[in-house]
Amino acid sequence: MSTSKKTYREAVKEALAQEMRRDPAVVQIGEDLRGGHAGTNPDLEEKKIEAFGGVLGVTKGLWGEFGSDRVIDTPITESAIVGMAAGAALTGLRPVAELMFMDFFGVCYDALYNQAAKFRYMFGGKARTPLVLRGMIGAGFSAAAQHSQSPYHVFASVPGLKVVVPSNAHDAKGLLIQAVRDDDPVVFCEHKTLYDTTDEVPDEPYTIPFGVANYTRQGTDVTVVALSAMVNAANEAADKLAAEGISVEVVDPRTVSPLDEEGILESVAATGRVVIVDESAARCGFGHDVAALIAAKALDSLRAPVELVTPPHTPVPFSPVLEKAWLPDAARIETAVRKLVTA
């Protein structure tokens, strides 16, 4: 299979385009997926202008290839977008809805957690809801408290939802194709600071199964469990620590739900020490869930207490100096690892 260097942004778009070519039931729905509709320019339609391609340009080009019936610009109405996508998923389409910043899921939460997530179970297994909801997570842009959250833990706490949090372009493509082909609603979380990162990515379509962690570093002293942009921070820390003679294993679960319990437990059993890095929440987050898993199933193999590296329990601050202090980074991960190996 041929591969080429692609950005995370390109990988996401390629996954969407290839799935749309493969399956006519796949449609894109969202605000400004194309952008450039009408306005004071009645001739834009003819000029085939795609002004935005989603707010950060991820879908640019899809409208040009697939047209307005399959790349559907909507008014700014998240609850109607997700409700419509859920209804369409029940009745034959495979919608991929983009809601820009995941902070905006607050507007549509009912459609997501009372409707889409529950159809299959409530209807006694008679319904499928092949729906993907894409959105951006993550701090680091000074986008302030209503544009910087990473609420994947909130979605993961809802039975019926699958939650995907890819950390690199290669995984983004394979996991997104898997998500589009999945018959359950999938929340696909793209970290806004990763869009311009590059990776070798296969050109052909491929899938990565959910619930299979990726060991991005093999090591023997400490396991670091990290997701999304935090995987890069963890790898950076691992490099630094390797120079000090500390061998760190970095485990990226890639999906929060389903979670690769075995993959995590195996690594922890081998190293006996674990640091969990989690941008989602200082309380009741993904990190606490993994810590509970380890406490329940791997306590015997632990040589030191579990270390959690999270932001403080505050909204995301705007000012860059505060935001930098808020966001976990390689230095904090290193400190946590050193604490464990010297304990």
């Binding site: 952008g35 509709h37 320019n41 202008i49 002004a51 700014i76 902070d103 705007f318 000012s319 100096v321």
Partner: protein
């Protein structure tokens, strides 16, 4: 209006230096709406705003220095650097906050109107929403609630023709947003939002009605934004010629100059006001740039639980 223009034009330049963190959405072109409405309000009245909130803040009386420092992320900012451009708030002048959630303001503003009604303060609330935001369910829910509870509120819909890159004529099913309000049973007016006097008159009537216990009103005001949706927007959805034409023919400041009663206000006086505005903004930028960032300890203040 002059201050808002100076503030926004200067931010456009400052943003290009790369020193302003986060997203900036400029209000230039819509000045007559914020000012025409807020001139009818007291400090004790409340407004809810949008992501494009600088104009509303200035018109409601927020301190220019505090705003600029906030936008630069400094400790002296109105929100001590924690909020930024999209969250500027100052409750002391009745400014309930810019709002980064489209459709966030209307329901908050009916809350302020409820407080005014129940506490008997004689206060009025105004929510500013875009044409895009007028499609959010919460906006329509707030309108209905305001009618049901007869709340002292004015819903101002600023129709600038676009929600981000998508035209209003695509995204708003029936072109008449004001008519939707009428369907909820409230009076609604459509005004030329480039004309300060038209906005002021419609807002005066609506605010008086609200203050007198007559319930809510909607005002749809049409104007144009002179810059992109956000700073950095290449504006592929319209041509530079179209923007130049709007700036030439639809500039609320120019229209104001043409309409103002020359016996009372001379062109020279207007020029002086513009000059003062620029000087004020110049000073604000200088102070904001020189100001300190918030100390790191402040990360854990202003929140009731810190782990």
């Amino acid at each position: 209006m002059s201050r808002i223009r100076a503030f926004e034009d200067r931010l456009h330049e400052e943003n290009a230096t790369g020193d302003i963190p986060g997203f900036i959405h400029l209000y230039s072109g819509q000045e007559a709406i914020a000012v025409g409405v807020c001139e009818n309000l007291r400090d004790t009245d409340h407004i809810g705003s949008t992501h494009r909130g600088h104009g509303h803040c200035i018109a409601k009386g927020c301190d220019i220095h505090g705003m600029m420092a906030e936008i630069f992320g400094k400790e002296d900012g109105l929100c001590h650097g924690k909020g930024g451009s999209m969250h500027i708030a100052d409750l002391s002048v009745g400014m309930l906050g810019a709002n980064a959630i489209v459709g966030g303001a209307p329901s908050l503003a009916i809350g302020a109107a409820l407080s005014a009604k129940i506490l008997g303060t004689d206060g009025v609330a105004v929510s500013f929403t875009g044409d895009g935001g007028s499609n959010q369910g919460t906006t329509l829910e707030a309108m209905n609630m305001a009618v049901v509870l007869k709340l002292p509120i004015v819903f101002v819909i600023e129709n600038n023709g676009y929600g981000e890159a998508t035209g209003t004529d695509y995204a708003v099913g029936a072109p008449d947003i004001a008519a939707r309000a009428a369907a909820f049973g409230m009076p609604a007016a459509k005004v030329d939002g480039t004309d300060f006097f038209a906005v002021h008159e419609a807002a005066r009537e609506a605010v008086e009605r609200a203050r007198a216990g007559g319930g809510p009103t909607t005002i749809e005001a049409r104007a144009h934004r002179f810059y992109g949706h956000f700073e950095g927007d290449a504006q592929l959805y319209r041509t530079p010629e179209q923007v130049a034409e709007l700036r030439r023919t639809q500039d609320p400041l120019v229209i104001f100059r043409a309409k103002v009663d020359r016996r009372k206000v001379s062109v020279k006086e207007l020029d002086e006001i513009d000059e003062e505005s620029r000087a004020l903004v110049d000073e604000a930028v200088g102070r904001a740039r020189a100001a300190a960032y918030p100390p790191i300890e402040h990360l854990l203040t202003d929140v009731y639980v810190s782990y």
